[in-house]
């Protein structure tokens, strides 16, 4: 409704009501004539003036009430200009500060802060600026503003992190983050410009042209030469009591260092070594004593070098005893048993395989195991099928293969899937063409493409999740949720008769991952790179609480009930509490950040030159309509604000009105 609308104007007549009422009231307080003021003394409190002010305030509130009420019904909008008035004469300074791990080297970050402040000091009055931090991710610190004080304040809270900067990713992110405007852009990149931060493709470092405006690249280097550095690069538990540590050098001369080994924050061994200037130096610690369960292995190198953060590396070693798993078979000496046992016992976690002949099985024993393996689904009878169904319904898990005994089945027990009539022969093996790599049991399995399988012809039901399939669309691996448990069927044998899977390297990985998945073990990766994300969703499908290396909880109570992705910003050990227990996750900086070799000056010069040549001439921009002559104003509704103000006014009016009444009754 327009402001001159008749209904609006009629509503405004309401203003007359408080005016009329107050005119009547104020008549009471008119002056009274008196013969002389010779003998009068003014009241100590200017009661009349106060009362009059209250009257006026009360009247103003009441008039404001009517005005706001009427205005609220007109659904007013506010046309807000953009935060800063941008014209083609304006320069937009986009400042990107490298906050990656390498910026912790010596005083690089302080130099970076000084460089940013220098850029701000040199800005023209009409210029606008925005500030971003760049590491593994790009973050907006201050959006486009004309107030350089905002930047100055934000810099105080900025510090170097633990992430890895990739200039290609940085430019790619900036392309989507920088506000569009008609300004001339100056991209200030403040960084040490590590060689490892250079994008794989040079073209990835060229920013998109925004509205055809010229872009100038300003390179602010805070490192002028290659700084020598050594980093603890790898920690490997080779045997049950031996740890091999790899120290990588990025220097010109060898260095003498002391390497110490701490297990669960207790120093066990220390060794003096001469580190190679360039390359790996290995140090072996023998007779290491581990505690049962997760062990915190800290490898510390002293004295520290220019980049102290990578002189300490955190590693988690799981020293839990092998978990028992039952293997149901008709023949304990079969080839399939050999393959399955070998795969499970060599898995990183380590499993103790308990062989159980199906004919001697007491079904009640199943409840002792979180999951079981059946060599051939064709060997179980109807009663055992019922027992297994009950076991799975109650939360158990089963991995079964379909061996030669299953070839004669018309339907698969437990799953009740129909088996097709296509005859199986050794010559009819087909390759694997489809893998659901998002499934926890297949996430790290590679090499399925070389597997050839002769699978039972099955018609998967709606409840079945096909995880691996052949080129003829025959399912090879499928999963069904039954009650609280899971049932996985490998539609081929594990004895190398119908499939070559058991003899392929992928088989070991597959069995290890499937074992972890079906036993509900945590699937969290125990060693992560800083500023990556910890996906709690893969930890058994449910979330829990996470404590960072400083012991601070990262999730609110509400957040603990749902799957979360936790950003691992700090280095050290994160404690993850999930339904299946406590897990430690070690977080270290990206190894590439330890290489402090800087980019070649010529490369940086080329980068600047290429960026400067990307702007199109004004004429072309006008023709393709990328330059708009007028700025669009944002339309914002403000009637909610009016209603909010109305509530405040009603409260204020009530309070003031009551006070006024109290004064009146007190003087009569």
């Amino acid at each position: 409704m327009a402001l001159l609308g008749p209904i609006f104007l009629l509503g405004l007549l309401g203003i007359g009501l408080p005016l009329w009422l107050h005119r009547l009231e104020t008549q009471v307080t008119e002056r009274e004539p008196f013969a002389t003021a010779m003998f009068l003394e003014p009241a100590k409190k200017r009661i009349h003036v106060q009362r009059k002010l209250k009257y006026l305030l009360l009247m103003a509130l009441r008039i404001l009430f009517f005005v706001l009420l009427v205005l609220a019904f007109t659904r007013p909008v506010f046309f807000a200009p953009p935060q800063a008035v941008i014209t083609e004469e304006t320069t937009h300074h986009v400042i990107v500060v490298d906050t990656s791990f390498s910026m912790q080297t010596e005083d690089r970050f302080n130099q970076a802060m000084a460089a940013v402040r220098s850029i701000i000091a040199d800005m023209e009055t009409d210029d606008v600026v925005s500030l971003y931090s760049a590491s593994s991710n790009i973050s907006t610190i201050v959006s486009m503003t004309g107030n350089s004080d905002d930047i100055d304040q934000a810099l105080d809270s900025l510090e170097a992190g633990n992430g890895k900067l990739d200039l290609g990713n940085m430019i790619s992110s900036l392309n989507t983050m920088i506000e569009e405007s008609q300004a001339n852009f100056v991209l200030h990149v403040v960084s040490d410009f590590q060689q490892t931060g250079q994008a794989v493709r040079f073209a990835d470092m060229i920013p998109d042209v925004i509205n055809g405006r010229p872009i100038t690249l300003d390179i602010e280097r805070v490192a002028s030469d290659n700084t020598a550095n050594w980093a603890v690069d790898s920690v490997l538990v080779t045997t049950v009591d031996t740890i091999e540590v790899g120290i990588r050098g990025y220097a010109q001369e060898d260095s003498e260092r002391s390497i110490s080994l701490s297990i669960n924050e207790e120093v066990q061994q220390e060794s003096q070594v001469t580190l190679d200037a360039d390359g790996m130096t290995f140090v072996t610690f023998s007779n290491v004593i581990f505690a049962e369960g997760d062990n915190r292995i800290d490898i510390r190198m002293t004295p520290n070098d220019a980049l102290a953060g990578d002189d300490l590396r955190y590693t988690v070693f799981d020293n839990s005893p092998p978990a028992p798993v039952m293997l149901l078979t008709e023949d304990e000496a079969s080839l399939g048993v050999t393959y399955i046992t070998a795969a499970l016992e060599t898995a990183p976690r380590g499993y103790e395989v308990i062989l159980q002949n199906i004919s001697d099985l007491d079904p009640r024993v199943l409840q002792r195991y979180p999951w079981v393996v059946i060599e051939d689904i064709g060997t179980i009878n109807a009663s055992l099928a019922t027992a297994i169904t009950d076991y799975v319904n109650g939360g158990g898990a089963v991995l079964t293969a379909a061996g030669e005994s299953a070839l004669g089945l018309s339907s698969i027990p437990v799953l009740d899937l129909e088996v097709g009539s296509t005859p199986l022969t050794r010559e009819s093996r087909n390759p694997i063409t489809m893998i659901d790599s998002s499934h926890p049991a297949l996430g790290e399995s590679s090499g399925w493409g070389s597997v050839n399988v002769q699978a039972l012809p099955l018609e998967a039901g709606d409840d079945d999740n096909i995880l691996v399939a052949q080129s003829n669309e025959q399912p090879v691996l499928l999963e069904r949720q039954i009650g609280r448990g899971r049932f996985m069927l490998l539609a081929t044998a594990l004895d190398n008769t119908l499939s070559d899977l058991p003899v392929k390297p992928v088989f070991v990985t597959f069995m290890a991952e499937t074992a972890r998945y079906l036993s509900n073990e945590n699937l969290l990766i125990r060693e992560q790179v800083a500023e990556s994300f910890l996906q709690l969703g893969v930890a058994g499908g449910a979330s829990g609480q996470v404590y960072d290396p400083d012991g601070e909880s990262l999730l609110s109570l509400a957040d603990t009930t749902q799957a979360q992705d936790i950003s691992l910003d700090k280095t050290g050990y994160y404690q993850v509490f999930t339904p299946s227990g406590e897990v430690l996750v070690a977080v270290n900086p990206d190894r590439r950040e330890s290489d402090l070799t800087i980019m070649d000056a010529q490369v940086l010069q080329n980068w600047q030159n290429v960026v400067a040549g990307t702007a199109r001439p004004d004429e072309q921009r006008l023709n393709d309509g990328t330059v708009s002559q007028t700025q669009e104003l944002e339309e914002r509704e403000i009637w909610r604000l009016f209603l909010f103000l109305l509530v405040i006014i009603v409260i204020a009016e009530s309070i003031l009105g009551n006070q006024h009444l109290r004064v009146k009754t007190g003087t009569l």
């Binding site: 002056r31 009274e32 002389t36």
Partner: protein, 304 residues
């Protein structure tokens, strides 16, 4: 206000200012007041208005020729005036304050109106006793001046002058009194009708020369009931009628401190009057006029 319960005789009721307010003619008011007052006096042994012969005296300018005894003139060729008991053959000069403060009145009658009634009544009473009557209206200067005269029509002139008086400016007694002293030649009575909102010392300084000149001064101090005993129930913003100054006062102040102050002021005016042997008569404008007239006659009796 006159009510049915008022058992005074009708002429006496006319002394009540609220009754007089209904009369539009000031001369009629004066006549009614004085006649009513005289009727009351006839019951008093002290005062009499009988026409008992006392003496002859030499005719002087300004005397009413009607009172010349032509028989004496025929016998002795002397122009003499017959004097009767009750006559003083004096001059009465009415000085009426017409400052803005005189316009104040809480009831139907303002102080100025009361002053008019009083002045007219005094003039009528004086004329009845063959006194020459004059009038001067003043506020911070002389507004109107009629010298004392006993010629026919002079009473109507005085009453007419009084009737035209309007409350207007502030009070400054210094300038009008100076002018008055310049004009008054003969000894006589000077009746000052005012609310005397001025400094008592300054008032005395201005009245004293009159006394030294031989004038007998009577000061009618008119104050409204609300000026004497104000009653307010809540804080009130009062505006000075002369200066326009606004002052907010509290009920407690008007109840105590103000009354003390006004009484102290009245006392100081009375003291100043006593200092120059003038009579000071405080009149509440809500009260009947007989008190004023009675005081006037007493005063006149004393001064002979």
């Amino acid at each position: 206000m006159s009510t049915s319960s008022d058992n005074r005789p009708a002429p006496m009721r006319l002394l009540d200012p609220s009754v007089l307010g209904a009369m539009s003619n000031l001369e009629l008011v004066a006549k009614a007041v004085v006649e009513g007052f005289v009727i009351g006096l006839h019951r008093s042994p002290k005062f009499g208005f009988s026409q008992e012969f006392v003496e002859y005296r030499q005719y002087a300018d300004g005397d009413d020729p009607r009172y010349i005894d032509w028989n004496v003139y025929a016998r002795s060729d002397r122009t003499v005036i017959k004097r009767f008991k009750g006559e003083t053959n004096s001059h009465l000069m009415l000085l009426l304050d017409t400052s803005a403060s005189m316009g104040f009145g809480s009831g139907d009658t303002s102080k100025l109106q009361y002053g008019k009634y009083l002045g007219a009544s005094l003039a009528y009473l004086a004329a009845r006793q063959h006194d020459a009557v004059g009038v001067m209206l003043f506020d911070n200067e002389v507004k109107e001046y009629r010298p004392p005269a006993s010629k026919p029509g002079s009473l109507q002139g005085v009453i007419h002058t009084l009737d035209d008086a309007q409350a207007s400016e502030g009070t400054d007694i210094n300038q009008p009194m100076t002018r008055f002293r310049e004009h008054i030649k003969k000894r006589g009575l000077v009746a000052v009708i005012s609310d005397f909102y001025c400094d008592a010392q300054e008032l005395m300084e201005n009245i004293r020369p009159l006394a030294l000149h031989g004038q007998d001064v009577i000061m009618f101090h008119l104050l409204d009931k609300d000026e004497l005993t104000p009653e307010i129930k809540q804080s009130t913003l009062y505006e000075d009628m002369e200066t326009g100054q606004a002052i907010e006062v509290e009920p407690a102040f008007m109840q105590k401190a103000y009354r003390d102050k006004i009484q102290k002021h009245i006392a100081s005016i009375e003291e100043a009057a006593n200092g120059i042997r003038a009579d000071h008569i405080l009149l509440d404008t809500s009260e009947p006029l007989d008190k004023a007239l009675h005081n006037y006659l007493t005063f006149r009796e004393k001064r002979g």
